[in-house]
Structures are given as C-alpha cells and as structure tokens.
C-alpha cells in the first residue's frame, strides 16, 4: 500500500464514492480539467465524465444554491469552495436553505450535500486565502462541520460526510494537504462522524484541538513529555455537533484543559468547548480553562502568519501555566 498525502486521500475518497454511488456529483471552480487548485479532484473528470464532474461559473452563492436543488432532486453534490475565504457569498444558501430544508419541509425534501473547502493558513498564500472561520458554520443548526487531521482521517471522514443524509461542511487544513504521507487503504471504510479521536493519551492535562493545529499540539505534547508532563491530545474531528462526552471523560482524568485553535479566539469553537466544560465538568477542573488561539485580528498577510498561528511554544507555556494553577 502506497503512502499518500491528505490531498491524495481526498481525491481517493471522491473516486471510491463516485464509483459506488452514481448519485455523487462533483462541482466547483476548476474541479474539472484542472483537478482543483490543490488537486483534490485530480483525475475525476477524466474518470467519471463531464456530467459528474462539473466546473461551475465563478459564483459561490450559485455553487451552494445549485447544490441545494441538485440534492433535493436526486443527486448528492460534493461541492468545492476554492478557499474558505470565498465561502461567505454561499453562507446565505447554507444558513437559509441547506441547513433547514429537511426541517422546513418536514422531511419531504433533504440536502445530502458536502461542501469542501481549504481551511486555515500557513502556506504563504495571498490575502483572504488563510481563513479559519469554522465557528460561523458551527453556529448554524442543521449542518455538521468536520475537519480531518491526517490522510486516513480525511479519507474516512469524507466518505462519512458524503454518505450522511444531511449537509456537511468539510474543512481541509491546507497546511496538512501535503505535510505527511500515510498508508491509507482504498477500502471504502468511513469513519464515524460526531466523535472525537484521542491522538495521544495522557494524565496531567487535556488539550483539545483540530485540523492543522494538531501539528503544533502534538509537538508540544512530545516536548512536555520530555519535561515529565503527560498530555492527552484530543482531535475534535467533528466540530459541530461536539462529542463532549469524550472531552469530559478526559478532564475527569486530567483536571486541566487547554484548547488550541487557529481561528480567532472571540466566539471561536474553543469558547463552546470551554462553556460545555464549565457547565458539565466544572467540579473536575483544577485550573482555569485556557485557550491558545489565533488573535482577534484579521489574519495577517503571510509575513506575519507565523506570528498569528499559535506556536508550539505558546502551547507548551500555556499547559505549564495551567499546571501551576489551582489545586
């Protein structure tokens, strides 16, 4: 089994599902002959034809809106938004229709749609190409938000997302697209949605994170281990709804929680995790819940992106601070 990158795993998941489910149709800007600007849909048009892999006009509202109509009338669109920073024109369709079609028609019409998009920064991309505004999506009732952190999880979670009968926003961390290679079997095995994934067990503190920040977090955990600190690392995987049980169990064990995300802090997904723990796990907490996040600033152009994205050092320092606090 060849080792593949996350972008290859994503293309592979598309291929498997299109092969096995004729309703799956891929749409987006440059997904056809070009195979996607990151190559997530490479080879699909050649393999499945122009009907099932269609370049759309340059219009995000149209991509989301037509996905709604395609999904209600017999197809399962997997739509690519070229970068998360260009998702905003599509939000109206996502909030006002995709997320509530099933509800507002009492189940008569449904929206099995996957909207995929590159997420986050760190690759020296131009302005507006480094957004991680998942929290805006997570606030929308009626959709799921998923974010993989490895080639294998990208493959399994994307399959799960496509098979899900409801809309899923699938956020792909650009920093991870080609960061590592992993053996991934093309076996059509989906991974569960709505479930966290424990990347590393530990007993002194819990770190919850997702997507590309798993890199710095795992590095921090490794470094902390050298210093005698045992950190449990939880990858959220599905950002909405949150699998809070797994997190609470971990905190019951460690008593300390640090949340790490690349997005701005204010009303980020980290806030929801903290709030859930402050409600359901308060008496397990031995120290304040700390968040290590992007700043509440505009994501800077790339000269400063390393200053913006939380560093391994910031995570280490915050965990250590947490260990000095409280009981």
């Amino acid at each position: 089994m060849a080792k593949i990158t996350m972008i290859e795993a994503i293309a592979m998941a598309h291929g498997w599902e299109m092969q096995h489910d004729p309703r799956v149709v891929v749409i987006g800007q440059d997904v056809g002959a070009n195979g996607g600007v990151f190559r997530a849909t490479a080879g699909l048009q050649q393999r499945f034809g122009k009907d099932r892999v269609q370049d759309t006009p340059l219009a995000e509202a149209a991509i989301a809106g037509m996905s709604v109509g395609m999904a209600t009338h017999g197809l399962k669109p997997v739509a690519e938004i070229q970068f998360m920073g260009f998702l905003y024109p599509a939000l109206d369709q996502i909030v006002n229709h995709m997320s509530r079609m099933r509800n507002r028609t009492r189940g008569r019409l449904t929206c099995p749609v996957v909207m995929r998009m590159p997420h986050g920064g760190g690759i020296h991309a131009p302005e507006h190409h480094s957004e991680s505004t998942e929290s805006m999506l997570c606030h929308i009732p009626g959709i799921r938000v998923v974010c993989p952190s490895s080639p294998a999880r990208a493959y399994g979670l994307l399959l799960a997302a496509i098979r899900d009968p409801d809309p899923v926003m699938f956020l792909e961390p650009v920093r991870l697209y080609r960061a590592v290679r992993q053996e991934v079997a093309d076996d059509g095995q989906a991974l569960p949605l709505d479930a966290c994934c424990i990347l590393r067990e530990g007993s002194d503190a819990t770190i919850v994170t997702w997507g590309a920040m798993t890199i710095e977090t795992l590095r921090a955990a490794a470094e902390l281990e050298k210093r005698g600190v045992s950190v449990e690392v939880i990858d959220l995987c599905t950002l909405s709804p949150i699998d809070i049980e797994t997190i609470l169990e971990s905190i019951a064990k460690t008593g300390r929680l640090v949340i790490v995300h690349e997005a701005a802090r204010n009303v980020g997904v980290g806030a929801e995790i903290a709030a859930l723990v402050a409600e359901h796990g308060l008496f397990d907490l031995q120290a304040p819940i700390r968040r290590v996040t992007g700043f509440d600033t505009v994501v800077p152009l790339f000269q400063l992106e390393q200053e913006y994205i939380p560093s391994t050092q910031r995570i280490i320092d915050t965990v250590q601070l947490t260990l000095t606090e409280g009981a």
């Binding site: 219009a59 369709q93 899900d164």
Partner: protein
C-alpha cells in the same frame, strides 16, 4: 406603471448624454430585441391568434375557475389575518392570470420554485388551501405538500429559489429526466445577485429551467424604476445569453402559452428562458404593509382597469362559454370550498415542541435529545398538559 404595454420605454432611447462611442466607427457584434406578447386585450378581445389549448372549452373554464377560487381564497386569508387568525399574509390580488397561466403550462413532473405569493400556481399543481393556511399560520407542516411532493416550498429569502430551480434542472440534466424546473421571481428580486447567478448558470449549462419574473410594479415601497435602469426586466436574460420575452401578465392565455412554449423548448434541450409577466400588485405588499404611504391612488385605479378576471370572463362570455348563471354558481362553489378548508384548518391541533427537533437531521444528535427534553418540560408548563 409597468403593467401597461404602452408605457414601455420607446425602443432605443438615447439618453441626453452618452459616451461618445456611438459616433465613432464601430462594428456591430451582437444584436438583441425584446418582444412583448398579448393575446387577449384588457376587454377580453383576442388581439393575436389563439393558441391550440384555447380550443378546449373545458380547459379555459378550468383556468377561469381557478382564478376565481384564488381570488376568493386570497380575500379570505387577508380577512383571517385582519381578525388575528393568520400571520402576516402576502396577498396575490391581481396576479391570478399569471399564477394560473404558469400552473396550467407546467407538467405535473416539472418542479416549481415559488416565492411567497403564487397561490394560483400552487393550487393548480395540487397544494391544498389547508397546507397554505398552515404555513401562513406559522406551521412548517404547511410545507409538507401532499402533492406535488417534489415542488420546492415557499421561499422568503428573495431570489434564493432561482438557484434551487437551476440545481434541480441540473439534476434532471445529469439524470437524463425529461423534466423542467420553473422559478418565480419578483421585479424587486431581479436586483439580487442570486437571480443573475441563476440565469447565467442556467445559460452556461443549457439547463431545463424557466424563470418567470412577475413584474407587479413594486417591491414593497420601491417601484421598478428605482430597482433598475433596464427598460424591461426581460432583457436581464441577455446578460445570461438566453432568450427573454415580455408577456401581458394579466392575460392568462398569453401567459400559459408563452410559458408552455419555453418549457417545451427547455424540455427538448434548448436551454433556459426568462419570461417577464407584466401585472400589478393590487393589494398592499402584505397585511403588514400600508401602500398608501408610498403609492398614488391614481396608479392603483388605473391598474384595476387592467385586472385579469374581467378579461378572462368577458372572453369566455363572448365566446359563449360562460354565462351569469354559471358565474353565480362558481362564486358560491368557490366560497364554500374556501370555507370548508378554513373550517378544517381550525380543527387542526398545534404542533408540539418536538416538532422543532423531529426533522432537523435524519437522526437527532445526542445533545439535541437533551434540548428536546428541556423543550418538552417547558412546553408542558406553557400549555398546561
């Protein structure tokens, strides 16, 4: 007032100042024209050849019947709202010819993407008055049409439905189904980017979808002249490279024929079209609106002279297909039908709090089960059972 064909801007108006380029040596690369169709004039006299379906007297009577039913039902809804028995309601007074004409032109397997005013089309296609009452009474069950199951539900966020229609048409194209989608949009709605994206996408992919612009002169308080400098709304089609045409929206026969032609062509692979139906909003925007704040009485009075019911009735009478006795019976029949629907509507029980959770996802996630329990607890307290 857009509803009067004579008031359409003169062809090729040249504003006082224009870029000088029209004086220099240039080559024409594309030419377009927008045409207008009327079959019955405002007094019900045919002013163009009658289409084939008009040879079927039953069909004509069926159309007229539906127009009458719509008008009576609409008046009832306004009344129910005024007496606190229905939520805000957008009357379709004056739109009957357009809405029934479109309904009659569509095939059952086609898909309708309505806005919020198209009672006539919905009724024709099988949506019940009971379902409509439910929706405007604030109950999602009103969107669960017993038929047609495949039609889109009412759509409040302006212009968004045009993209759903394009998407459905895309599905028909991919799945090789000989069906069409039809999206309504208002004159105001044509200013939204979503509308343009939809017609442009439909053109680029030659999708089987027809867009019907109901130009009723107003978007709440904003007249068409403030929405756009375009002389017609049909010409919006030119931006998408697709055919566009105007039709007298108070002429049910012209509407039906024009829409049927467009659907037929689309179904045979010719791609989309835009049809601008010129009519007039004879009511306030909704029951929450007071049009006297922004609209002159004179304009309204003139518009009444062109309204669609008289025209159809006169045409039928003159063709000896209709008489006063039939009219009396019809009015009574429709009134009874409406009363029955209303009576049954009020017999329905209110939805329970579970309704908020039931159809959110195919399967309710865990944390929502807790919230459902909370909702039950407090709903019980509120309603006392």
């Amino acid at each position: 007032m857009k509803c009067r064909p004579n008031n359409i801007w003169p062809v090729n108006t040249v504003p006082e100042i224009t870029p000088a380029w029209h004086n220099s040596r240039m080559r024409n690369v594309a030419e377009f024209k927008i045409q207008y169709r009327q079959i019955l004039d405002p007094r019900g006299n045919p002013c163009a050849p009658l289409p084939a379906f008009a040879a079927d007297a039953d069909e004509l009577r069926r159309m007229y019947r539906m127009m009458v039913l719509v008008r009576i039902f609409d008046a009832k809804c306004v009344n129910l709202q005024r007496t606190g028995q229905l939520g805000t309601y957008p009357s379709c007074l004056g739109h009957e010819a357009t809405h029934v004409g479109v309904g009659a032109a569509m095939l059952p397997e086609d898909v309708l993407a309505p806005v919020y005013r198209e009672v006539g089309t919905q009724l024709w296609r099988g949506v019940t008055m009971g379902e409509m009452l439910l929706y405007w009474a604030g109950d999602e069950r009103g969107n669960d049409f017993s038929q047609p199951r495949h039609d889109f539900a009412w759509c409040v966020p302006i212009a968004t439905q045009t993209l759903h229609a394009a998407g459905a048409a895309m599905a028909f194209q991919v799945l090789k189904q000989p069906r069409c989608a039809l999206a309504y949009i208002g004159d105001g709605g044509t200013s939204e980017g979503a509308f343009y994206e939809a017609i442009n996408l439909a053109g680029a992919r030659k999708l089987p979808v027809v867009f019907v612009i109901v130009n009723n002169g107003w978007a709440i308080s904003v007249p068409v002249s403030a929405q756009t400098a375009a002389e017609t709304l049909a010409q919006k089609a030119i931006a998408a490279g697709i055919p566009g045409v105007q039709v007298d929206g108070n002429d049910c026969i012209a509407v039906r024929q024009t829409v049927a032609e467009a659907l037929d062509a689309a179904r045979r692979g010719a791609g989309p079209a835009v049809i601008e139906a010129l009519t007039y909003r004879l009511s306030d925007h909704t029951t929450a609106d007071d049009a006297s704040r922004y609209r002159g009485e004179h304009e309204l009075k003139e518009a009444w002279n062109l309204e669609p019911m008289i025209r159809m009735r006169e045409f039928l009478s003159r063709s000896k297909l209709w008489d006063a006795a039939q009219e009396g019976n019809l009015q009574q029949e429709c009134a009874e039908q409406v009363e029955t629907a209303v009576r049954m509507h009020f017999q329905q029980s209110k939805p329970g709090s579970d309704a908020m959770f039931e159809h959110l996802f195919a399967q309710l996630p865990v944390h929502l089960q807790e919230q459902r329990a909370t909702a039950r607890r407090y709903a019980a307290k509120v309603s006392g059972h």
